[in-house]
């Protein structure tokens, strides 16, 4: 339950993909292809994004680059936009435990914008991002002599599962524009929303202050549960950025065979909208509620969220001390009990005791995980009681 993969709809996806694979193979499937992705696939992606994000303007296929995963998209973008040692602002907790890995070629420094569990005045809920927090983090970066070049946002957020409001999104874009920062927005979970909270894609905003510095990432790994297929997409209207990224894209190409398969998948809008997304939302919702309630029964509060394949759970009261060492201890004992969940430290969370638990599993698996969790946490509960 540590790796964020959607295993809930494997049957639905596998069935649809198998039908496509049985088809004929074209010669171009085995030849060198356009590094940015074949035209027909980019056009299909452009149509797909236009529809699913309710974009203000239709997405142009010439502004789209296809690569073998969103990590590659981020790595190439970062290499082109940043010099070695440069930094980017990222609200934490965030999928940035892995971001430094993506920076192996690029050699970057994430500048955390720490969010807390306690909601302060003006904030609607815990772990909320505000512009003031961005300003504060930028100030600290300046003092440390880190040249910040961009703001990176994940919406819906990983690991929190929360969605940015339209006002907040705009506020972030305006903040970035003021400081001439690039904005990289990763909307990889945009179709993995399990309740009815409205989602505002950045592409649907009517007025983007600096379109030349806005770069959009999406991929098949989460929303289509196909992490093994290796396909991620960059959309940017900045020609110069696109040129630089396309040079690097040669090392991260999505094979033509895969592009053909996915083209056909996207083309089948009926299947996507009426079969897959409906089932996916329903099953994600069920699993989320199961996990939420199960954890509540164990006395583990969970941050209320709308999206993603996981929950953000509060294990603070099970820590022997409010430290990251204690968090690690708890994590180790859970691993020994064969329950693998991710500790908050790996997301740069500034408070020890939070864990991300992936719930995009069939119900049976969650129950087993829940039982194991119960046994372990009762042990800790007991321990905490004793020490109290």
């Amino acid at each position: 339950m540590g790796l964020s993969e959607n295993k809930i709809c494997y049957d639905v996806i596998a069935e649809r993909v198998s039908k496509i694979i049985m088809g004929n193979m074209e010669p171009e499937a085995l030849h060198y292809a356009d590094h940015q992705g074949i035209k027909s696939f980019r056009e299909e992606i452009a149509n797909f994004l236009t529809e699913q994000t309710a974009s203000t303007n239709p997405v142009n296929a010439d502004h789209v680059i296809v690569m073998n995963g969103c990590c590659s998209v981020f790595a190439t973008l970062a290499t082109a936009l940043f010099d070695p040692g440069d930094g980017y602002l990222i609200p934490t907790p965030s999928y940035c435990g892995v971001y430094p890995q993506m920076c192996k070629y690029a050699d970057l420094r994430p500048v955390h914008v720490p969010l807390q569990s306690k909601a302060f005045s003006g904030e609607i809920h815990a772990f909320q991002l505000t512009i003031q927090k961005l300003e504060d983090a930028l100030q600290i970066a300046r003092v440390q002599n880190i040249r910040v070049r961009a703001l990176v946002l994940l919406n819906p957020n990983n690991p929190l599962g929360t969605i940015y409001s339209q006002e907040l999104l705009l506020g972030c874009l305006q903040f970035a524009h003021r400081l001439k920062l690039h904005v990289i927005i990763d909307e990889m979970y945009m179709l993995s929303i399990h309740d009815d909270t409205p989602f505002t894609s950045v592409l649907s905003l009517k007025e983007v202050p600096d379109p030349q510095r806005l770069h959009y990432i999406w991929g098949f790994s989460k929303d289509f549960a196909m992490g093994g297929f290796r396909c991620g997409v960059l959309f940017t209207m900045n020609k110069e950025v696109k040129t630089a990224v396309t040079q690097l894209a040669v090392f991260h190409q999505c094979p033509v065979l895969v592009q053909h398969i996915l083209t056909q998948l996207l083309f089948d809008k009926d299947w996507i909208n009426c079969v897959y997304l409906v089932k996916n939302k329903k099953r994600l919702g069920e699993s989320y509620r199961l996990m939420f309630n199960g954890l509540a029964a164990l006395g583990v509060p969970v941050l209320k969220s709308s999206a993603g394949l996981f929950v953000w759970a509060d294990f603070r009261k099970f820590l022997s001390s409010p430290t990251f060492e204690a968090e690690e201890e708890l994590w180790q004992s859970l691993v020994k009990a064969k329950v693998f969940i991710s500790p908050g430290k790996s997301y740069g969370c500034c408070e020890p005791g939070w864990f991300r638990i992936v719930c995009s599993f069939p119900k049976e698996v969650i129950s087993i995980g829940g039982r194991k969790n119960q046994a372990t946490s009762m042990f800790f509960h007991g321990k905490a009681d004793n020490e109290a």
């Binding site: 790796l3 993969e5 295993k7 494997y10 996806i13 596998a14 993909v17 198998s18 694979i21 049985m22 004929n24 193979m25 010669p27 171009e28 499937a29 085995l30 030849h31 060198y32 356009d34 073998n68 995963g69 990590c71 590659s72 290499t79 082109a80 936009l81 940043f82 010099d83 070695p84 440069d86 890995q101 192996k104 070629y105 070049r149 690039h182 030349q212 510095r213 790994s221 549960a225 196909m226 992490g227 093994g228 297929f229 290796r230 900045n238 110069e240 950025v241 040129t243 630089a244 040079q247 690097l248 040669v250 090392f251 991260h252 190409q253 999505c254 094979p255 033509v256 065979l257 895969v258």
Partner: protein
């Protein structure tokens, strides 16, 4: 007759000199006045003049000092990457925009430039669409081990053991599978080198490697220039020897470049040479002496279509001189004619290198379903041996014969080899002057005439005039491509002949004028001043057309006119 020839050569020479003067600053320092002009012998140094200077060792402009185009949106590194240019890209872009298609676009560009095997799609598509290929197990849809699923690494280890004829079974834990040869060069450069470091490579070489090592890691290739002219113990043109490797390494050290590795390609691209085991061992020993890593690219190892060529993989050696620094690359792109499938592998015993590359491998992932297909393919030894390899090699051999026969007809010299997909051919006689500018002009003419072949500059060849021609394509495309090449070459030949006539007639007219000094001092008085390049070319052709030089040597002149010679020597010494 001889005097006329003498006057003609001298006049051309004098025009060249004045052309140089016209371009240079006033105090050029050339001898003024007529007295010397009329009693000059030839300048033997000029006559032995080399072809234009060697190309710089990096194909791209030096970006940290003067990028061609600076974008305010990109970092310095981003601008360097954006400005990286290779002529292969230009050719490929032109081709993609105007692809030849028998029915839909018969006037499109025939691609005899990109090294792909288009001869076996029938065999491959049949095998790749069989039912055992269509498997969608859950693990294939999910994140894999970034080194490659265990099943594919086992398959690669078995495959290499058999086809490389390894003396002992090779281990799956020494294998990493990522998305293609380019990514292998890219990640190896990142883990073996630091920014600014160098990797030795013999020229001509497959030009894209510069990009692979430079883009992310800012590593440069250090060329070991090979020439077509055989000297000393050379047994073939462009002969790589340990002496040449040693010299280039020393030169690099003098320029403060830290060389970390050596790249060897066997079979070679673009020469199609197959190195003998002795040669390979010598190169590996050289590397060991200097503690250099060796990246051995064997991507064409199964595409040797003549038994007599006797190919040996380094993995077949009983003992490697430095196994911890020997890293072997192979990919499906060439030998299985599947460049679009993006699968390559690294074999090395060095666990540090493997771990480091594995860290980067998640950026170069191969899709699960593709890994399954490739493993199925590699496992099917019967199909490989009985269906695929035999037919593929026979087709390659026939296509090679077709193109080389055509080249013979045209009287174009080429390296006659029996591996890979291309022929390295000598087009020097079609260059008006032996320069890269002329080579590029010829290349552009080919492209404008809708046939793409790659010019030597793209391979960092130090001699202009060489081109690589692909033959691994269907006969009708080869036919059309060769016809289009021939058309351009005939045009060039005719132009050169009529230019010679024109220049000669101009010179004849001048010879009849009684003052040579006018030509020296007022080159602009001519209505159409021939360019310097054109004059050099004409001079050379004039030299070739008579034995005047053999008769009129510097020594002879010194003997005949000692006082004049003394004055000349003093002035020339300035």
């Amino acid at each position: 007759m001889e005097r006329e020839h003498e006057l003609r050569m001298f006049t051309v020479f004098a025009q060249m000199v004045s052309s140089l003067r016209a371009d240079s600053s006033p105090d050029f320092g050339l001898v003024h006045g007529l007295q010397m002009a009329d009693r000059w012998g030839e300048d033997s140094k000029l006559m032995k003049g080399k072809a234009s200077a060697r190309p710089p060792s990096n194909p791209s402009p030096d970006p940290d000092n003067s990028p061609e185009r600076i974008s305010p949106y990109l970092s310095k590194r981003g601008n360097r990457i954006s400005n990286f240019y290779n002529i292969m890209n230009e050719g490929y872009i032109a081709y993609v925009a105007d692809k030849y298609d028998e029915d839909k676009n018969p006037n499109g560009i025939v691609n005899l430039g990109t090294s792909e095997n288009k001869l076996c799609f029938d065999l491959l598509s049949k095998r790749l669409t069989q039912s055992d290929m269509h498997q969608i197990d859950p693990p294939l849809l999910q994140y894999p081990d970034w080194r490659g699923h265990p099943f594919i690494r086992e398959e690669f280890a078995r495959f290499f053991t058999y086809y490389c004829k390894a003396p002992a079974p090779l281990k799956p834990e020494n294998v990493i599978v990522i998305n293609g040869g380019g990514s292998l060069f890219c990640s190896l450069a990142a883990v073996l080198c630091d920014p600014g470091d160098g990797i030795l490579i013999a020229t001509p070489y497959y030009g894209a490697i510069s990009m692979h090592v430079m883009l992310y890691s800012n590593v440069r290739l250090v060329p070991v220039h090979l020439e077509s002219r055989m000297t000393g113990s050379d047994t073939r043109p462009f002969h790589l020897t340990v002496e040449r490797l040693e010299k280039s390494l020393q030169d690099a050290k003098m320029e403060d470049v830290r060389v970390r590795a050596l790249i060897l390609m066997n079979p070679h691209n673009p020469l199609a040479d197959v190195y003998s085991p002795t040669e390979m061992k010598d190169f590996l020993e050289f590397a060991k002496r200097h503690e250099l890593h060796v990246i051995v690219d064997e991507v064409y190892m199964l595409s040797v279509f003549e038994e007599t060529a006797q190919y040996h993989s380094v993995l077949s050696f009983d003992r490697l001189p430095d196994p911890q620094r020997t890293h072997v690359m192979w990919a499906l792109s060439k030998d299985f004619a599947a460049s679009g499938i993006r699968v390559g592998s690294l074999y090395t015993e060095n666990q540090d290198v493997l771990s480091a590359v594995a860290q980067l491998a998640f950026l170069h992932g191969v899709p699960g379903p593709t890994q399954h297909k490739v493993a199925q393919l590699l496992r099917d030894r019967d199909w490989i041996n009985q269906t695929f390899l035999q037919t593929n090699r026979a087709r390659l051999k026939a296509a090679h014969k077709y193109v080389t026969d055509e080249l013979k007809e045209l009287g174009i010299p080429f390296l006659n080899r029996h591996a890979a997909f291309f022929v390295w051919a000598d087009f020097r006689r079609y260059l008006k002057t032996l320069s890269f500018e002329e080579e590029l002009l010829l290349w552009r003419r080919f492209v404008n005439n809708k046939v793409l072949i790659i010019c030597g500059k793209a391979f960092e060849c130090c001699e202009p005039g060489w081109f690589r021609i692909i033959f691994s394509d269907k006969t009708y495309r080869l036919q059309l491509g060769m016809q289009r090449l021939q058309k351009v070459l005939k045009e060039v030949e005719q132009e050169m002949q009529s230019e010679d006539k024109l220049l000669l007639s101009q010179l004849d007219a001048e010879c009849k004028a009684d003052i040579v000094e006018e030509t020296v001092l007022h080159p602009s008085s001519q209505e159409k001043a021939p360019g310097l390049d054109g004059l050099i070319g004409l001079l050379k052709r004039q030299m070739q057309s008579s034995d005047w030089l053999q008769k009129h040597t510097v020594e002879q002149f010194a003997q005949d006119n000692p006082e004049v010679f003394e004055v000349f020597s003093r002035l020339a010494g300035k």
